[in-house]
Each structure stands twice: as structure tokens, then as C-alpha cells.
């Protein structure tokens, strides 16, 4: 014990002397903690991401796209954002992977191998929009704690797997089931093996939707490690944290799941609107379910300069959580007038939709092209940052790009 302490202090003392100060290490720091993490593997190579992606955080890894990188109709891995709460697991052996279904509202506890899941149940492929609940957090004022996502924590990939519904029904769901909660093998940042970095879930009605998948393929290939290889949950249209990665257990609960990051204030917003900066009690925070209507102009990249006679073709995607998008409009005069865009139907429920428009500019000068989507319930995106909330979720304010006409 004493010797360990000596070594720890020596090592830390070295750090301090490197930084050339009279740093005396705190005796209160528990053993087993390393002061720094200075390895820097190339994350772009490690995760096969495009170099245009922004690294927000490297422990845990959090990486986002930029609007123009999301131009593909189906998001390829290289442009897909990474959001982690803990440490990505290592040494995964898919051949030994299993999934256990248990919980108070499961008729029995039953385990499946990954191979059994693939062969026993029918496979489906859906395009599913996954957006981080905190996408757009960087715009909140006063600022909200956490990764400062701008616009790029959203994707729509083709996910292949089996329906969670089929697996749950095979095990048997009791009539008192209210929620499912996932458990996974990622590890807590502190290294504490008793802590789960995240264990969230969805109400039983969402778990039983046809599009809610236990997925093992993304865009036709094995899911990349950072996105949940070899098995993950995909619950499109909800905060992506509901779609657990590296999962090995799903509990059918007779209560709202109480795993890590299910409780306030995580992934919750005030049940009633609050003033910016207001303190909100835990019991007054409500779980985020479907994500709000939103859109992104993915072409051209912001900063385009063009001649007036040419006109400008814009395009992008729009999505609305559980709902379909009814209309997308654009404005080049800061919302004074809006014109309609062409809008396609979603490939399947919960897939994003594509919009486009040809814009003629009346005279030379600086413009901003703003896009505004409206869902089937007639809710539109606000031009201003919407209701402030303590954790900075659900910023669905209109996206805009800068354009100069020469």
C-alpha cells in the first residue's frame, strides 16, 4: 500500500516536474488513476472516418460530421457521427456473442447466440435516422454542459437485423411490461467495473415497433466497432442513446427502466417550459421520446460564391422523429418570405426525406439560405434556438448556409 503510493506519487511528481512547477500531488486521489492519457492514435484511420469530421472528444470518443458531409442519401460510415459515453470495448468475438433477455416482465430468461438470432428470426433492413439528443447543444445560451455538438450528430444508414419484437415475443412478454432496458459491454470512464457507462431503453410500445431492430449490419456490412459491433439496438427517430451499442442483455421491465442515464437530468428536458438558465428539479424533468422536426442543407457547402445568372440548386434531408415531414421551405430573406422545396417520401417509416430547390437571387450580395421543415402535425422548426433546457437537448432551429452572389 505504502509502496504503491510512493510509486504513484513519484510518477505524478515526474509529470509535475516536466511541467516545471512545484506541484505536490493530492493525497486524496485514489489509487489506480492515471493522471493523463496522451496516446493519440489517428482516429480517422482507427474509425475509418473522413478527415473533415470534427473530433469533439477523444476520451470518450465523440466525433461529428459537418452539414455538407451528410449529402449522401444513405450515410456511409465515414460520415457517421460517433457518440460514446464510455470506453469502446476491445477483443470482441462475434462467434461467442450472446444476447440474454430477462427482467421482471419476461416470461422466462432466455439467451440466444448471435448466430441463433440471425437464423431463427426473419431479417429486415430499414433506413433509420439516428440523431443524438444533444445535437445542436453548442447554440444554447447560457451554455449547457456536455459535448458541444453543432449540426453533425445525425445519420441515416441502412440497418439490417431482426425485429426486437420477434425476439421479445419468442421469450414472452408479460402484460405488465412497460419498458425495455439494454445492457452492454462498454466500460465506464473511471474504470470502475461496477458502473455501466449507459444503460437506457424505450417504452414497450417503441420496443414492439416493426422498425425497432436488433441490428448486426450497417450498410450491408458488419457494423463498425465504434457503432456497436457485433450487435446493437436501433430505435430510429428517438435520441440515439436509446439505441444501445455492443448489447448483450435486454431486460423487459415492469417499471420505467432505471439504468444509467435514464434518470434526471440525463436525456430529459423540463416538463414545463423554463426561462434560460433556470434551475430545474429532477422530478420536473421528463424523458425525451420522439425527436423534433429538423432539416439540414447538405449542398452546397456554406460559403458558396456564384454568378447571379446561374441560380443555385440546394438539397438536403429532413426528418421528424416518429413522424413524417410534410413540407420543407427555404428563405433567402431571413424568414420574410418562404418558398416550397421539392420533398420526397421516406423510403420507410423513420427514414429521413430528401428535399431540393432551385433558387434565383434578385441581386448581388450576401445571402443566407435558411431551410425550415414542417411535420405532419404542423409543427415547424423555429428560426431561433428553441426552449432552453439545462442539458441542451433538442435544438432543432433552422439550418442555414452563407451564399455570395457576384
Amino acid at each position: 500500500m505504502q509502496r504503491r503510493k510512493f510509486i504513484r506519487n513519484t510518477v505524478l511528481g515526474t509529470t509535475a516536474s516536466i511541467l516545471a512547477t512545484d506541484f505536490v500531488f493530492s493525497e486524496t486521489m485514489p489509487k489506480g488513476y492515471e493522471p493523463l492519457e496522451f496516446q493519440d492514435p489517428d482516429p480517422y484511420r482507427l474509425f475509418e472516418k473522413d478527415e473533415g469530421m470534427t473530433i469533439l472528444n477523444d476520451k470518450p470518443w465523440n466525433i461529428e460530421a459537418k452539414a455538407h458531409l451528410l449529402d449522401d442519401k444513405i450515410t456511409p460510415n465515414k460520415y457517421m457521427f460517433i457518440r460514446n459515453n464510455g470506453i469502446i470495448p476491445k477483443n470482441i468475438e462475434a462467434s461467442k456473442w450472446g444476447l440474454t433477455i430477462d427482467g421482471e416482465s419476461a416470461r422466462k430468461t432466455k439467451s440466444f447466440t448471435l448466430q441463433e438470432l440471425k437464423t431463427k428470426f426473419k431479417q429486415y433492413t430499414y433506413l433509420l435516422t439516428l440523431e443524438c439528443g444533444g445535437n445542436g447543444r453548442s447554440e444554447f445560451n447560457p451554455p449547457a454542459k456536455g459535448n458541444q455538438w453543432t449540426v453533425g450528430a445525425v445519420s441515416c444508414a441502412a440497418w439490417t437485423g431482426v425485429r426486437l419484437k420477434d425476439v421479445l415475443e419468442d421469450v414472452g412478454v408479460k402484460s405488465d411490461a412497460v419498458y425495455i432496458g439494454y445492457h452492454a459491454v462498454d466500460t465506464h470512464l473511471s474504470g470502475d467495473p461496477d458502473k455501466e457507462p449507459i444503460s437506457r431503453g424505450v417504452p414497450i410500445y417503441k420496443a414492439l415497433q416493426e422498425e425497432t431492430l436488433l441490428a448486426f449490419k450497417m450498410n450491408g456490412k458488419d457494423i463498425p466497432l465504434a457503432h456497436g459491433y457485433p450487435l446493437r439496438l436501433v430505435a430510429g427517430g428517438w435520441p440515439a442513446s436509446a439505441s444501445g451499442k455492443w448489447i448483450n442483455r435486454i431486460s423487459i421491465r415492469n417499471i420505467e427502466h432505471d439504468g444509467t442515464k435514464m434518470k434526471a437530468p440525463a436525456y430529459r428536458v423540463p416538463c414545463k417550459p423554463v426561462a434560460p438558465g433556470e434551475k430545474v428539479k429532477d422530478e420536473d424533468m421528463c424523458i425525451i421520446e420522439s425527436m423534433p422536426v429538423k432539416s439540414l442543407i447538405t449542398f452546397p457547402k456554406s460559403g458558396a460564391m456564384l454568378k447571379q445568372e446561374k441560380g443555385l440548386h440546394i438539397r438536403g434531408h429532413a426528418w421528424a422523429g416518429e413522424l413524417e415531414v410534410k413540407a420543407v421551405e427555404y428563405s433567402i430573406d431571413f424568414g420574410a418570405t418562404w418558398k416550397s422545396c421539392n420533398l420526397g417520401k421516406p423510403k420507410n417509416r423513420l427514414a429521413w426525406q430528401h428535399f431540393g430547390a432551385e433558387i434565383i437571387f434578385p441581386k448581388k450580395g450576401y445571402y443566407e439560405v435558411w431551410a425550415r421543415a414542417t411535420d405532419v402535425n404542423n409543427r415547424s422548426q423555429p428560426m431561433l434556438v428553441p426552449g432552453w433546457n439545462p442539458k441542451g437537448y433538442l435544438n432543432n432551429a433552422c439550418h442555414r448556409i452563407a451564399v455570395k452572389i457576384k
Binding site: L12, T15, S26, K301
Partner: protein, 155 residues
């Protein structure tokens, strides 16, 4: 008594013994660290332990920014690095903005739920550092677009 040859010999033996002891100490320290920290010096790309292969590299400052972490330089920087980077990246700190009270509540949350230890006498300087360099600015309801990279759109 005044035999210079004898003294020279003694000195040379003494130097050898001292050097030998230093080498043993260094080796033993390394070995002990390796026992506690098995990945030390294993040069694994995925390693999560620190290694200081290049002191200058570690120490580098550019425009008042500590290159390795991205933290603003300050006399209390070593306290901040030692307390705020064992579990998560410095990037999680430098991308956030909060008032003094805000930083205190973030620290309390980490102590209550994330296994952050009692920072003791270091808490006050750490909070001052964070509030000084990473305090909030009023952004209003929607900011003007900045850092636009202008380019000619072809076709």
C-alpha cells in the same frame, strides 16, 4: 595518507557503485511501475496508459496553449491536468463554458456519480482556473454565421 593514486582508485570505485545503484533504482522503479501498470512500455496503439517518450513534446506550449491537452497555460495547469484528465479527455473541458457556480456543480456531479475524488485544497484553484479561462459568453438567441470559408461554386 596523501596518496593521490589511492584516492583516485577509491573515487573510481565510488563512482561505479553510485552509477550501479542509480541504474538498479531506475530499473526497479520501471519494473514496479510495470507490475502495477502492465501495459507500460508495451507500445500498444490501443493503450490507455500514459507514456512520456518525449518530455519536450509533452511540455510544448503554443500561443499560451498546452499543445498536448489544448488547455490554456497557467500556473495551476498541472493541477487541472492531474485532476481533470484521468477519466476523460481535456477536450471535454475545453469545449465547455460555465460560470464558477456552473463548474462547481459539474464537479459535484462528477463526485456524486462518476467516481471523481475529493479535490481537497486543489479544488479552489481548479475552479478559479476553469471559470477564468472557460467562462460563458452571451451568445444571444441565434449567432451570426462566422468562419465562413468562401469558395467559387463550379457549375
Amino acid at each position: 595518507m596523501n596518496n593521490p593514486e589511492f584516492f583516485k582508485k577509491i573515487k573510481s570505485v565510488y563512482n561505479t557503485v553510485v552509477l550501479f545503484f542509480i541504474l538498479i533504482m531506475v530499473f526497479a522503479a520501471g519494473l514496479m511501475y510495470k507490475v502495477i501498470n502492465p501495459s507500460f512500455l508495451s507500445f500498444n496503439r490501443e493503450t490507455t496508459q500514459e507514456s512520456y517518450s518525449n518530455v519536450e513534446d509533452f511540455n510544448a506550449m503554443e500561443d499560451g496553449i498546452h499543445v498536448k491537452t489544448g488547455f490554456k497555460n497557467d500556473k495551476d495547469l498541472p493541477l487541472v491536468i492531474a485532476s481533470c484528465t484521468p477519466c476523460h479527455s481535456a477536450k471535454l473541458v475545453t469545449q465547455n463554458r460555465a460560470t464558477k457556480d456552473g463548474w462547481i456543480s459539474i464537479i459535484r456531479w462528477m463526485q456524486d456519480t462518476q467516481n471523481l475524488w475529493d479535490l481537497g485544497e486543489h479544488e479552489a484553484p481548479i475552479i478559479s482556473y476553469l471559470a477564468k479561462y472557460y467562462g460563458p459568453e452571451d451568445k444571444g438567441r441565434r449567432e451570426v454565421l462566422t468562419n465562413i470559408e468562401w469558395y467559387d461554386l463550379e457549375d
